[in-house]
Every structure is written in structure tokens, then in C-alpha cells.
């Protein structure tokens, strides 16, 4: 399961009569979207984002935490509690406790939580009388015994305790996206797409109404719009942002030194996939510090074990960037598979990532 970074800002968890908390919460979400387009509002005071993409982009978890803390401080002047775990239930607990869990540690973390963490008073009381104190104790009960003794709501909590469900019922505010949309009303007006003549056309209005309907159905990041900005690699130049969020930057077509030449991949993975490149002796192909390959790659191996033959490759084209105060070294390689599929790979932090497909 994906590691989630949860942000908990306690002063934003209770609405005030003037609605200022919702507006502050919205400002934080919008500011965070610069960092990652997939910030998910959970309920007031709490939001999450998938950690892997930003972490790869910023050069590690710590760099993302520093950036997030800075953003919240800049926007609100408040400190944010951060936590990382798999699944929303544990991610929130981790944030409240300031714990960062690595892949595979979430189950142990979940098991040591007090039974009250499941948020059900009666269960916590009954559990104590039965000698069940932790989420792990509860998880170890046989599902059939839980079903005999407790109602449907507790049976759901049992599945959360066992890690079969990633979040508690009610943990997410289901009306939040509608409230955010209303609060965003003004921003949307300011951000409307303009027609050729600088005026809104009837078609623009219809498209806007349709986007509203889809967003209502699928949530705030259900409909995205594309923006282009400066950058060297296709995955940096493109940004897809939720429809209706304030535009952060305008289209920038200025040539950038070192921009990858030739066609760009029509599929640009927002979450690059870790892959292995191997040579014909089945040894992993590495990038040297000087930007050359240790051997010619002949196969592409995916994490789930499937293997594809490479019939041609080009590159590497190194990119050295200094961004967010830390040097990033990356290099791109194009490969053509025997099936005729062409892909763009990137070498970074000592491994290979599939970043694009020329479909």
C-alpha cells in the first residue's frame, strides 16, 4: 500500500462561525498543490498526499517534510504535525504522534495503538473488560467471534484493526469537497478559461458546468487541467492541476538549455515506476558518476518480475539541476522494446524509473 504523508493542523480542525477555518484550510491545500497535485483533503485540519512522487522529486522524505512545514508556516504562521504511514487510519495516528513509518512498518504500528484509537467508546470499554487493550489484541480476535458479540459498526472496525480496511468510517468528511467547491467559487470566476477573443463563450460556460458535475461526482481532483511551464524533462514541464484551483503559473514556452530533444512521451507517469535495466549477462546496468552506462541494456525488468527485451536504446542524457537547495542528478535513457513499444527511463538516486511511454 502507498505511503501517505498526513498533515494535521489542530487549530484548523474546528470551524469558527465566520467560516475562516475553511478558508485557511483551502489556502493551505492550494499552497500544497504547488508541491504535489494530488493533495487530498480529508476533513478540516487533516489532509494527505502520496509521499513517493514528491519524495523522488525533492530528493528524499526529509526534503518534502521541510518544504511542507515551510509552506504551512508561510500560509498560516502555524506548525504542522506530520506523519507517514500506509492507509489513512494509520497516517492520521502517525501525524498526531509525529511518527514517520517506513514501508512495512505500518502493521506493527497499528497493532500497538490503544483500542480507543478506533474511536468507539463502547468497544474500548467492553474491550477492557475482556482484557483487550490494543488494536492488535482486537485484530487477533476471530472475525466470527466479533460477529457474534458486536454489531455491524464494530465488525467494520475489526476489519480496520486487521488492516483489511485502510480508513475508519467517518474519518473522511464526505461533504468537505462540496464545501471547498463553494468556498472556491470566487477563485473559479477569476480563473476562467478565456476564449480567443478574451471573452467567455457559451461553449466555455457549458464546459465549466460539465467540469463541475464531474468534480461533484469524483471529488476535488477528479477533473484536471493541463498547464505547461519551463523545465527540461517532459515530466517536469507538464503539470496537471485540479480544475478550478488558482493558476500558479502561465504557459512558458521559452527554450530551456538541456531540454530533451525530439518527441515527448504521450504517457507521462505522475508516479514513476521503479524498474531494473539489465545487460546481456543479466547484470544490472548502472549509471556512473560521470554519466555513462556500465553496459548496454538488453532487458527491462519490472518489480513484479515481468521482463521485456530491449532491442535499441539511446542516451544517457544527463541533467544536473540545482533546485530546492539540493543538487539533483538525473539522466534519461530511451529504450525500444521488441514489441515495438518505446519508453523513457530516468536514472535517479541510484535506480531506474519508467517515466514515460511513447504510446
Amino acid at each position: 500500500m502507498e505511503r501517505l504523508l498526513a498533515l494535521w493542523v489542530e487549530p484548523l480542525s474546528e470551524e469558527r462561525p465566520d467560516g475562516s477555518v475553511l478558508r485557511d484550510y483551502l489556502r493551505v491545500l492550494d499552497a500544497l498543490e504547488v508541491l504535489c497535485p494530488f493533495v487530498e483533503p480529508v476533513r478540516l485540519g487533516l489532509c494527505t498526499l502520496p509521499l513517493r512522487g514528491p519524495s523522488r522529486f525533492f530528493g528524499g522524505d526529509e526534503a518534502v517534510f521541510a518544504a511542507v512545514r515551510q509552506i504551512v508556516r508561510d500560509v498560516l504562521g502555524l506548525d504542522v504535525a506530520l506523519g507517514v504511514a500506509e492507509g489513512l487510519f494509520c497516517a492520521e495516528l502517525a501525524a498526531r504522534q509525529g511518527v514517520v513509518l517506513h514501508a512495512g512498518q505500518t502493521t506493527a504500528f497499528r497493532r500497538v495503538q490503544p483500542l480507543a484509537a478506533l474511536g468507539h467508546k463502547e468497544l474500548a470499554t467492553t474491550g477492557r473488560s475482556l482484557g483487550i487493550y490494543s488494536v492488535g489484541d482486537f485484530a487477533d480476535l476471530d472475525a466470527s467471534r466479533v460477529a457474534e458479540r458486536f454489531n455491524a459498526a464494530v465488525r467494520v472496525l475489526h476489519r480496520v484493526a486487521r488492516g483489511e480496511l485502510a480508513e475508519l468510517p467517518g474519518q473522511r468528511d464526505t461533504r468537505l469537497s462540496a464545501r471547498l467547491r463553494d468556498a472556491r467559487g470566487e477563485d473559479i470566476k477569476g480563473d476562467e478559461q478565456v476564449s480567443f477573443f478574451g471573452q467567455r463563450s457559451a461553449g466555455d460556460d457549458r464546459a465549466r458546468a460539465a467540469a463541475h458535475r464531474v468534480r461533484h461526482r469524483l471529488g476535488p481532483d477528479g477533473v484536471l487541467v493541463a498547464r505547461l511551464r519551463g523545465g527540461r524533462a517532459p515530466e517536469d514541464r507538464a503539470s496537471l492541476t485540479p480544475w478550478g484551483s488558482p493558476s500558479c503559473d502561465e504557459r512558458d514556452d521559452a527554450p530551456w538549455p538541456g531540454r530533451l530533444a525530439g518527441p515527448s512521451p504521450i504517457t507521462s507517469l505522475h508516479q514513476p515506476v521503479a524498474v531494473e535495466l539489465c545487460d546481456d549477462a543479466d547484470e544490472p546496468v548502472r549509471m556512473s558518476a560521470r554519466g555513462s552506462l556500465s553496459a548496454a541494456p538488453t532487458s527491462l525488468v519490472f518489480a513484479h518480475g515481468s521482463r521485456r527485451s530491449i532491442v535499441w536504446f539511446a542516451g544517457p542524457w544527463p541533467l544536473v539541476e540545482r533546485w530546492w537547495a539540493s543538487g539533483r542528478r538525473r539522466a534519461h535513457v530511451q529504450v525500444l522494446l521488441d514489441s515495438g513499444e518505446a519508453m523513457l527511463l530516468s536514472a535517479e538516486v541510484g535506480r531506474w524509473w519508467l517515466v514515460g511511454i511513447y504510446d
Binding site: 463563450s201 457559451a202 461553449g203 460539465a210 469524483l218 487541467v225 525500444l336 511513447y358
Partner: protein, 204 residues
Amino acid sequence: MATLRPVTLAKSRIVPLSEPWASLTPGGGLRRGSTVVVHAQPGLGGLSVGLSLLSDASAKGHWAAVVGVDDPGVVAMSDLGVDLRRVLFVPRPRGAWAEAAGDLLDGVDLLIVRPPSRASHGAARKLMDRVRERGIVLIVLTEPRAPWPLPADLSFHLVSSRWIMSSRLDARYVTLRVSGRGEAQHRGEHVVMVPDVRGRAVAR
């Protein structure tokens, strides 16, 4: 406030296509109310062909939506000539691709849908009927494991593709079998370069 129509008359029966597509289609454009299928093995160019069909219409003021294409390469789309200011993306409709497509019918002139799995006969029928009723164009991207269950008005079947390489990937020739109903019947095989070295679609 005066409202403006897109540059091409909205009442026109055809949604415009640029070359190389215009000369492959009856009437030089996509007939409103029709369904177009772009069928290809994954990774061989079907996505570039499908998204390229948006370029002329979006540049002339028509809105488009793309449902179910998870990670659209918007730089490549821009290079194909698509005006990204008029494209809505619904990359991950989860189980609700047909519903999301339905929500968009009233808002766009071109609707691209890539169903995540084989569409049911009923869902396909319903969507095609509504597309005909609304007078927009539905473009369905399919692959062998998820074919479209109903005959389309026009279909581009990607037969083969071949890359041209130098010190990098330069361009790709794709061979398309174009067929359909009525005037679109038997339009034969055509070779198109997509992308060319500048990322565009051009006739060979």
C-alpha cells in the same frame, strides 16, 4: 454580455480535423453524433493517434474531455497541436468512467474515452445514443483486451508501427486501417507519421 460561438459554427455538422486526418475521413472531419474507435495494441501509437484528433478542434475553440487516460503527456499533446486550455482531463474515473463521460456530454464537442476494461454492451449503447442525441463526437480508445462491443461509425485500426531512430527516437510511422459505415466504408490503409521529430502528426 455578448456570447461568442467557437470560430467554426457550432451548428456545423462536422467537428474539424487537421491533416493528416482530414483527408482520411469522409467530409474531412468528424461527423457530429458519431462514434469513432481508435484500436491499437497498447504502446504502439493508438494514444497519440486518438489525442491528435483533438488538435484542430481545440485550436478552433471546441472543448474536449479525456476520460480514463491515466497519465496524459501534456507536453506531447501540446506538440501535437492540442490547445490544452480547452481540454478537461478525468484521468482516474475509477469504476465510474461511463458516468463521468455522461456528465461531460453537455459540456464538450469531443469526448475521448478509454474504458479501463471491456465496456458492457448496455453502457456502450447508452453512451453512443446520448452522443448522437447531443450531437457531439465520441472517440473511444480500445485495445485487444478491451474492445468496444458495438460497431463504430468510423474506426482507425492501428496495424503496425515503426520507429525511426538516430541518436534518439526521432519519429514513428504508423499504419492505420480506416473503415466505417456508409461513406466511410473501405477507406483502406494509410501511413501517418506520429509523432514526427517535432512531435506533430503529419502525412507521410
